[in-house]
Point group: C2
Chain length 179, copies 2
């Protein structure tokens, strides 16, 4: 079910793993070629023997993120076939809150699709398109989910806000439209 990201040499794999760990623990600003090299016990210039530039390395992390979130979404729908939108929303939020920095890297910038293995984005999107019933409705649901998520990550809701309730308000609506 799981699938490896492209064809990476063993050393390149280690570098991606370390890069992701650094990103997830300290955020995007901490992901520099120097700090990454430090973690790997090597010098920054050596990294360029494995990746042509930083963007390509980031794309490898992003591809992993898409593959893992796709698995989550597929499992969520499989586990609750009665209310796929609700299940997807919960899985979406959970993934983002568990991997906030990865989620930001995946969503807060234009996607370099040319640097990704083909199909990874589509696979992650497929369960939602199926559950929403149309592409436009899927876009609206995605926008709602991303908005809730990124505003929460950016600390834009009041501390006392009942976000579960706001999520439920939104999902309930989208569910009604289906019937």
């Amino acid at each position: 079910m799981s699938q490896t990201v492209g064809e990476l040499s063993p050393r390149a794999r280690e570098i991606v793993d370390a890069a992701r760990a650094l990103l997830e623990s300290e955020g995007e600003d901490a992901l520099t070629m120097r700090r990454l090299a430090d973690r790997l016990g090597m010098r920054a210039p050596s990294l360029y023997k494995h990746f042509p530039d930083k963007e390509t390395l980031e794309a490898a992390i992003i591809a992993e993120g898409f593959e893992e979130s796709a698995e989550r979404f597929e499992a969520a729908v499989a586990a609750d076939r009665r209310r796929p939108l609700r299940a997807l929303a919960a899985a979406y939020r959970t993934f983002a809150l568990e991997h906030p920095h990865l989620y930001r890297l995946m969503t807060e910038q234009p996607l370099r699709r040319d640097l990704l293995p083909p199909g990874v984005e589509e696979r992650a999107a497929a369960p939602l398109v199926a559950a929403a019933g149309s592409v436009n409705r899927a876009r609206a649901v995605w926008a709602f989910a991303h908005g809730m998520t990124i505003l929460e990550l950016n600390d834009r809701f009041p501390r006392a806000a009942d976000l579960e309730k706001a999520w439920r308000e939104g999902i309930r609506m989208f569910e009604r439209l289906r019937s």
Copy 2:
């Protein structure tokens, strides 16, 4: 109806204006103290006689953004009392697309409320809270609108996507819930 941001000296006003112009024309990365000083025909260190740090200067720009968007939202609701949510959504998107870099500055990071004149955020939010009927519903609508907006700005929808349609799908739902 319009209101000035805090009490700024004339020179400080000029600096904020230039900073905003620089931000809007070239984006957040271009808004550096050096480039700002260049535009004003002065040296970067001189800016610190007017603002204690960059964050405070940015907060002045953000406050302006809130005031201007509040005016837009109030006018939109006044112009279409039958469908306030639809009017607000259109005004929201228009403001963001007209001022993409300002919109990013206003939404993509935690808000330094301690650096803003009191009430500016609330005033901008008020029309939506009134139109949505409840705070939680307002949060859901905001999340949808912000999601649509920022995903568009981040170029995450396919070129061919009919975003008008996706917006309509979302708004239609939220309108139905009211009745």
